[in-house]
Symmetry: C2
Subunit: 345 residues, 2 copies
């Protein structure tokens, strides 16, 4: 049976539709079928300009959408703007014409659409956006990085369960350790949310709770998963990305001043480049929104063709790995176990 | 008139009293008189072992304290443990025998002591710990980085006023811009605390409010001051420090593999070292606690002699610059202005 295509919102984002078309062609070349959703005339013209879909590649289809949600629009607009590319793309997934949704457009609108069209996995109060941090000993799963600015302890508990499943599936961690992001390692340390969440995680079945971790543990890779509210997680993620950029900028500048440094820089360039690539946020292309009923991926508005290509490959892996089905199963078990556990308290 | 000494808790911290004695000698050599507070016999013996106070240096005095608050103790213990080194040191400042308090011990205990013994500047609800981030275009003032895990909008407003004064005094910024750390630049973006604080900062007199900033803006140096709650600020600070450490570790490793990289690394070493030094958190040695009635500095528990020396110099600069007096004046003005402004609403 041929694979279903990944539905790509080809209009939302700074470099669309060009980045979508180029990214889709690159993905199709590695065997990933794509459904481009947006202004049909522009998308077909764009494909034609590039000589059409390569002969040996997977198919690229175009689905027309007359409208597009722009960065300055409200996320809630997706309710009434049914012709918007993000909604038409989500409808295609819901109707079985595509297997996953990828968008580089308005993050809030993509989340709102996924909630509206796909609905939440049973037992999940709020979906969470997951980021992969390239830590010292391998990838660290950080969530939530922006879907929920204000959280309750029960939400963080569900993030822990979803993060645990995700680390096993996406990063091959057998029995991933879960850290709760805080300011001090002792159980009593942290803000009110963390102090209330700590005992809850300690008695959640099916996860391996390590305890509190601090900001420094994120890149040190102290735990496989780090759970936090979407405000702190988003600040942390953008800080981590921004710091890497500033730091490599300084190194570049330092290696341009003086003959000795220049020569050293030239010789060390491939090694330094490899370190910089390790921190490149476009490696994954997009971040999964966990907790909705179909695979959903949210990318940077500034995504280029490479990020689109990576996001499509990432989405395809999630579909093949049965991410949503496994999440649904684990969340159901964990919540049932906990309910019976609580009854025995 | 000779300068008053800086009171140093010589017992609290991982490497005490050795780091305190060595740091005090280094500071005394550059003309900073120090009052070492702790176990008199050990401190005098330590000084004697090092050949006593150098002849051409500023004086180092010893004040006995029979007790010490350890990392595992409760911050609140300072109330009844009046013989603890941190309390004896604070009492010396309060009694006019020293001009500022420096501690590398239990941060919570240092804060509690400063609040108890010094009291808050009139109009300041809660003191804040300030960190200096080595950003792209110079130092960025970040507060609060850990004194208050849960904040209210009025507290963030006071942090903004104190941060503005601090950036002018410590970093020579004429009319510093203030950013509110959030997840999205638009005024409506962020968690509940940020959404309520934004309009408050916009109408606070005496500060130049830029609006929301994101995690990436911290090292990019988008604003001179970044205001946030102590939970987010502490996570951000420790992440920034930890990331720099991990990144330079990777670079070191990369420059050890292969002849070409090794040679390049050798040549580029001084340039790379200069970049690493730019990010060294021990440059300042300690972080000021703003909002209490005497200059108070809190350092890392892991502080070495260099950090102690830097902290003492930093404290001396704050005393000379009249940090506490200026803060008190500005907070009073800002709050009076705002009260009359509100009355006119």
């Amino acid at each position: 049976m041929p694979h279903l295509p990944i539905a790509l919102d080809a209009m939302g984002g700074d470099h669309m539709p060009d980045a979508a078309i180029d990214g889709a062609i690159a993905a199709a070349r590695r065997g990933i079928p794509v459904l481009l959703v947006g202004d049909e005339a522009r998308l077909q013209a764009g494909l034609a300009e590039r000589g059409g879909v390569p002969r040996d590649a997977a198919p690229i289809d175009v689905l027309h959408a007359a409208d597009v949600i722009r960065m300055e629009d409200h996320a809630g607009d997706v309710r009434r703007r049914r012709e918007a590319s993000i909604r038409v793309a989500a409808d295609a997934v819901k109707d079985g014409a595509a297997s996953a949704l990828v968008s580089m457009g308005h993050s809030g609108a993509t989340m709102a659409t996924a909630l509206l069209v796909f609905g939440r996995i049973s037992g999940v109060e709020r979906p969470a956006i997951v980021a992969t941090i390239p830590a010292k000993n391998g990838p660290v799963t950080l969530l939530d990085v922006g879907a929920n600015a204000d959280c309750k302890p029960g939400m963080l508990q569900q993030f822990a369960v979803m993060g645990s499943v995700y680390a096993r599936l996406a990063h091959d961690r057998d029995d991933p350790t879960i850290g709760l992001l805080s300011i001090g390692e002792e159980p009593g340390k942290g803000n009110e949310l963390v102090r209330e969440t700590h005992p809850l995680l300690a008695r959640t079945p099916g996860i391996r709770f390590h305890g509190n971790v601090e900001g420094r543990d994120l890149l040190a890779g102290t735990t496989d998963v780090v759970v936090t509210d979407g405000f702190t997680g988003n600040v942390a993620l953008k800080l981590a990305e921004g710091e890497a950029r500033v730091l490599f900028g300084w190194i570049r500048d330092a290696l341009r001043s003086g003959m000795r440094s220049k020569l050293g820089g030239l010789l060390a360039k491939p090694a330094l480049k490899a370190v910089a690539n390790r921190l490149d946020p476009s490696t994954y292309g997009a971040q999964p929104l966990l907790g909705v009923n179909h695979p959903t991926f949210i990318g940077h508005g500034s995504a280029d063709a490479r990020a689109v290509d990576n996001a499509l490959a990432f989405a395809r892996d999630a579909v093949d790995g049965g991410l949503v089905e496994r999440l649904a199963r684990e969340v159901a078990t964990s919540i049932t176990d906990q309910a019976s556990g609580d009854a025995n308290d």
